[in-house]
Symmetry: C2
Subunit: 274 residues, 2 copies
């Protein structure tokens, strides 16, 4: 199957790095400037797969992305944990003292806040994308303006790294999912699933469901409740589980389909690392 990959951001972005790391090879990259257009790229068959950030240790789950997958009936077919490394860069020949503004994605700014506390003369400006800012600084040879981006971005856009590894938390992993229109056919390597279901707000209803999961040897790796605004007292849950035997999962799935409402498998895939 031809692999055409949609990423959020441009070449040099973290999504691009994950595409390079996850896929052995691919035919094309579609640079999307929003998660909406990323999904559009799959729905219109412009791309066969997309790389999408789904959670990190600072903001937790990126719920709007869960909603995009759910609403458009896309399937999670893989996941990838990427350690975030941020670098402070500018056009060549400048020092940190020369930089008056740093432009970057709000998340990157959040992740490097501590570093910039030491440089109160620098104004932090929120921007669309880490790599896109790096490219713009290069294209316009902007003086006095820095970017927070990856080493790959510094290389691609010929910028000088003024300070490397400026992220506050050193073990900050972002989890990305690989999404596609259809689920993988083979269940050979599947040992993880992302599920969504709803429960009535009755005392103990979630405990009962988790008991069943435990009985079926399913390990919970993530749980998140979301109140359903249209239907008060109805709760939706996003749950990730891992398992050793696909048969255990199949059994648990059958029971959950009966016990819960609006049960849906967002994806079955291989838990590679973490």
């Amino acid at each position: 199957m031809e692999k055409k990959i949609a990423i959020q951001g441009i070449k040099g972005s973290f999504h691009y790095q994950v595409a390079l790391d996850y896929f052995d090879e691919f035919q094309s990259i579609d640079e999307c400037m929003s998660f909406d257009s990323l999904v559009e790229s799959i729905l219109t068959n412009k791309s066969s797969h997309a790389v999408m950030a789904i959670e990190n240790s600072i903001v937790g789950s990126i719920i709007p992305n869960y909603a995009l997958i759910d609403k458009n009936n896309l399937k999670i077919i893989g996941e990838y944990y990427h350690s975030v490394h941020h670098n402070f860069m500018s056009i060549k020949g400048q020092k940190i003292e020369d930089i008056l503004e740093v432009h970057s994605h709000p998340m990157a700014i959040l992740q490097c806040k501590e570093f910039f506390k030491n440089y109160p003369h620098i104004k932090l400006v929120e921007d669309k994308d880490t790599a896109e800012t790096a490219k713009r600084i290069h294209d316009n040879q902007l003086k006095g303006i820095g970017a927070i981006a990856s080493k790959t971005a510094a290389e691609l856009y010929d910028l000088e790294i003024l300070a490397a590894e400026i992220q506050t938390i050193n073990n900050n992993q972002t989890r990305f999912v690989i999404i596609s229109k259809n689920q993988n056919k083979s269940t050979n390597e599947v040992n993880k699933a992302s599920l969504k279901f709803e429960l009535e707000h009755k005392r103990g209803s979630l405990a009962t469901v988790l008991n069943v999961m435990s009985d079926c040897k399913l390990n919970l790796t993530k749980i998140q409740s979301l109140p359903k605004i249209e239907t008060p007292f109805q709760y939706a849950f996003f749950v990730d589980i891992t398992f050793d035997d696909y048969k255990d999962y199949e059994k648990g799935k059958q029971i959950l389909e009966i016990m819960t409402t609006h049960f849906k498998v967002l994806g079955e895939y291989e838990n590679k690392n973490q």
Copy 2:
């Protein structure tokens, strides 16, 4: 006790509206331009209380704000659900066709995305604060630029509403918490608590904890797991519970303190509405 309230944003922001609605009266408002400075305002005793957005139906929990409360040992002493109403506004005498850019907070833009799909000529620009943008448009009498903000902001900053109620989801509630340095002394009206605890990643460990909660007549209204990056295979949970009898809660709390690690009460308060 004198009530000095810190809010995120300026007068006319949603935080301001919640301060007006929640408190019968207050002596002063400290307009903070970030959640960090909001917390700073309490820590330095500049404010006695702060209003802080903690979750909404689009992004779910605002985890960085949970972290701020936790890290600084602040206490949740109340909560307030505020229905979000967004309005599209500009200086007087302009039509929607005249507006080329709309500036607002990323969350407000996200919540009104559907509306602006009908106006592809309008560029959506992310900005710091909904009300602050409205004020700037007024102060500089900016032509061709619109804001997404509350009716209060339109009144305060003398702007004309071009389209009212432009939010996509009509029943979109944001949950705000009221935070302070110390927990309320009286437990008379307390019927809700926000807890944080950690569990080892062992199959069934969460199910066991939820069983205890259910046995103690505690109703789960929210649950959220967060992997602890420093300690792999250790999971932190943020949980909200409601109860009819404070004694049931006290009993459950004692058991959870033994069953979990790093057990912490983020706040005990009255669940007023929703």
